[in-house]
Amino acid sequence: MTAGKTQQRKSSSGKSPGTKAAGGKTAGRRSGGGKTSGTLLFEGADWDFGTIQRTFEAVERVALTELGLDPYPTRLEVITSEQMLDAYAATGLPVMYPHWSFGKRFAQQEMMYRKGFQSLALEIVINANPSICYIMEENTMATQATVIAHAAMGHNHFFKHNQVFQRWTSPDTILDDLRHARRFVQDCEERHGQQAVERVLDAAHALFAQGVDRDRRGQRPDPRSERQRAWQRRREEREAADDLWLRTVPRRESDQLDDATAADREAQRRALGLPEENLLYFLELHAPLLEDWQRELLRIVRELAIYFEPQRQTKMMNEGCATWVHYQIMHSLRAGGEIDDATMLEFLHLHAHVVAQPEFDSRGYSGINPYALGFAMMRDIARICSEPTREDESWFPDIAGNGAPIATLRQAWADFRDESFIRQYLSPRLIRDMRLFKLRDDSDEPEYLVEAIHDEDGYKRIRNALAEQHDPVMAQPRIEITGADLRGDRTLELKHDVHDGQQLDAMEARRVLRHLRNLWGYGVRLREIDAESGAEIAVHEAQET
């Protein structure tokens, strides 16, 4: 379930620190003024439950009064590093059904950690109500304070208010759902054997990314409407069958027969709700050979895909929000004299680490760091609100100089997802600061082409391209089921819309199709159709066994 990477986590992995002293200098200027009235919340690295309680209250006070945040109530859970390792092998959720792929992830993580290639996530926060925030025993007190500000305030507020989360997830019941999932999978394993269960789960995991209704813009799946939908499907099926019966009354004229088959096919397609891009949902409803418990397993995986979908759509904003919030809160505590220089220094070290953005040609580059981009955008928006330039005024007439940076940010956090957020708020200034450029990679050409750079001509093109890059719909191949031929050989027909000549990885496609065939029970065929010309480019098949 590669799609299920927990995106709540904050990992200081892999990024090289050291070069980001700039953050430290800014801080020195701001907080160098010295101590004011407040008393220190804690001193030194050690923590106990008293200091955590005190610090949480102080952090919460700043979050609620100064930043006007409104998070879910929080439950802090202290865990050890081993438990942390455990937690994020199982996609970060506290309860999970058993599956070997989590063991694989665990083996990988453990090796990286033991060899010292990678440090552990400092915290994990679960989008539930009340939210659960895991903090690690090994963290120093400065880290704990940062983590509380970041996760318990930042992420938590985002979870509660962002519209994508509101539409897609139901934080009140997620833990119960997971517990049901675990119990159900365990029961199935007892009844039908581990192998049979894994066969279904493996296949479902391979279709994880095809388990959400992106086109329907994420209505939260409400059990009642789900049932209604299934019921309606069945009625349509019945009607189609009646229709078929009426039409198949023997007739003499052969031309009319052709006509009838075509109409029949159309009726059948309608009854199946084709074309359908939610592969998991389709199989759950229509796969002819699946038993009820197998359908339920598919539903469980699909629910999980739905739970993670908002995180895919808002990764950058979510991290940007949390990072901006912890930065504000820590500085506010420092200004109030509630934390000392040593803590501040450690915080800045940590912060610089998190928001480091290596340049594209440096060794450490592994894509755009969502923490870095998110944090930079949040700061930039705040700047536009309070100290706009002429340029900002022409680009962002709505918010430039409105003097309400925090309210503007809160509004943005609620209304957007990564893609639309970038389209709305990425400023020329930030494009210049990050020296973003757009590169075209045409596999037929021997060279890459620089399409746009940070200049007057390029801003909008870069902004659009970056927005598309942050859209999970665009980032993923578009695959839909087009036919099922239920009265013929029952081959399942799929189509991949090929845009810009980007074909599927053939090896991977065949492997996924094998899984798909295991669920469908009959042959499966995937055609790759060029979206512009309509030409068929490639066909992948998995034969009936």
Binding site: K104, D361, I453, G458
Partner: protein, 437 residues
């Protein structure tokens, strides 16, 4: 807000999943391991195994685009010299988007991971059981063994992690603006040259004023340096080790081999494989395994591994000499109350007439009573005889040992004809009891 302390909750929630994963990779692993032991020396079993498994069974496929096809655009940070319309050669070192592919192609063709030593040996010796575990129970003191476990803020000096420490120190110094030594040197040299009248201030100020200014700066810088140390205690990072207790149990394994001219290189190779398996197997159960190599012709001597397998001598064949040498070494170095003793003997079965009876007597009276287990393998490459049913006539030694092996549980004798026989024979020797019944 509530704080809950979960530290006492059970850890290892994922051990079950890890086990499932290992099971899944099992067939692959078994093959990888077999390839692996072929290249090892007898006593090289100390580490876990890095095994590369082709990802068929453990790969999690998903629909993804092939980055080699089609046209795509990417936004990248950190442009330095490019202008719109520039082209960048598609060369990895071209400084262009060379790393692009790795940034988006998240493919994994094969999956490397390290089996713990236990998992490795478990797989190798699936459902095998050590014949006699008595002494292990008697002598099971726990000694803690250190294992790496991340980093800590305190620790003994010898575990100081320089890289981590200096990295933190560098950041802190940069953040707090600690003046560098080079900057100080420059001020000092300028000061000296001003004082000696070698130069005059460029901006036309009087030399004295400039000197005073420089002195002030210098003093400031020195004060700052004394306040911001090069290494602060908060920079320090230590490698952390956790101690995990493990029982002491030790064993000595005697490898006895006939090296007279009748044993050719191929036969020795076969013997080596067998010894290696036995050694691996013992390692699985004992922390401390000594291996003693004894070769013999008409006279026995203790040698090192290399000589044992590669050296060649001529002479007659008196098997009892090896047994006697072994008994001598036991008396000398391995008190039987502290060591588990294993004997593996490989031979082509030849012995001078008359000596067989002596051997049998030695075994019965002195060797078998003190050993946990003795395995005798007869290397017999001509015949494809398995388990001694078919093939050539029984050898002298075989005839002598066979009756004994029936009455004594801790003596087992087998024949090996070719490399493929080794593992089956070995498994057969050490089959766990459930499987026997």
């Amino acid at each position: 807000m509530r704080i809950i302390d979960r530290r006492q909750n059970p850890k290892g929630k994922n051990l079950g999943n890890r086990q499932r994963f290992v099971n899944r990779a099992r067939s692959r692993l078994r093959r990888a391991i077999k390839d692996n032991i072929r290249e090892r020396s007898v006593s090289d079993t100390t580490s876990g195994e890095t095994v590369v498994i082709p990802s068929d069974d453990t790969h999690e496929p998903e629909f993804q685009r092939d980055p080699q096809t089609g046209r795509r655009s990417r936004v990248l940070p950190g442009n330095k010299q490019f202008r719109e319309g520039d082209t960048i050669p598609r060369d990895e070192d071209g400084g262009g988007g060379g790393r692009k592919a790795s940034a988006e192609g998240d493919g994994e063709d094969s999956f490397t991971f390290t089996l713990s030593r236990d998992e490795f040996l478990d797989l190798l010796f699936e459902d095998l059981k050590l014949p006699d575990m008595v002494k292990r129970q008697l002598k099971s003191e726990q000694i803690p063994k250190p294992q790496r476990a991340g980093f800590a803020t305190t620790g003994p000096q010898n575990r100081l992690n320089m890289v981590r420490t200096l990295r933190r120190s560098l950041v802190r110094r940069a953040a707090l603006g600690r003046p560098k030594q080079a900057a100080l040197d420059q001020i000092e040299s300028e000061l000296a040259r001003l004082q000696s009248g070698e130069i005059t201030p460029a901006d036309g100020k009087s030399a004295d004023k400039r000197i005073a200014e420089l002195k002030h700066t210098l003093e400031d810088a020195r004060r700052k340096r004394s306040k911001v140390p090069y290494i602060d205690p908060m920079d320090l990072r230590y490698n952390r080790f956790e101690r995990t207790p493990q029982p002491i149990a030790q064993a000595v394994m005697f490898c006895l081999m006939d090296v007279s001219a009748s044993m050719d290189q191929e036969m020795k190779e076969l013997a080596k494989r067998f010894f290696m398996l036995l050694h691996l197997f013992l390692e699985r159960h004992y922390d401390n395994v000594d291996v003693v190599f004894i070769r013999h012709t008409h006279r026995a001597e203790e040698v090192d591994e290399k000589t044992f397998f590669e050296g060649r001598r001529t002479g007659g064949t008196i098997v009892s000499s090896a047994l006697e040498e072994m008994l001598r070494i036991v008396d000398e170095r391995y008190p039987i109350n502290a060591w588990n003793i294993y004997v593996a003997q490989a031979s082509d079965g030849d012995d001078v007439p008359g000596d067989v009876a002596h051997c049998t007597r030695l075994l019965k009276d002195r060797v078998l009573p003190i050993t946990q287990f003795m395995a005798y393998v007869e290397i017999d490459p001509q015949s494809r005889a398995r388990m001694g049913f078919v093939g050539r006539e029984e050898s002298d030694l075989w005839r002598g040992y066979a009756p004994l092996s029936e009455s004594r549980e801790n003596l087992a004798i087998r024949r090996i004809g070719e490399a493929g026989d080794i593992f089956p024979v070995f498994r057969d020797l050490f089959r766990s009891e459930e499987n026997v019944t």
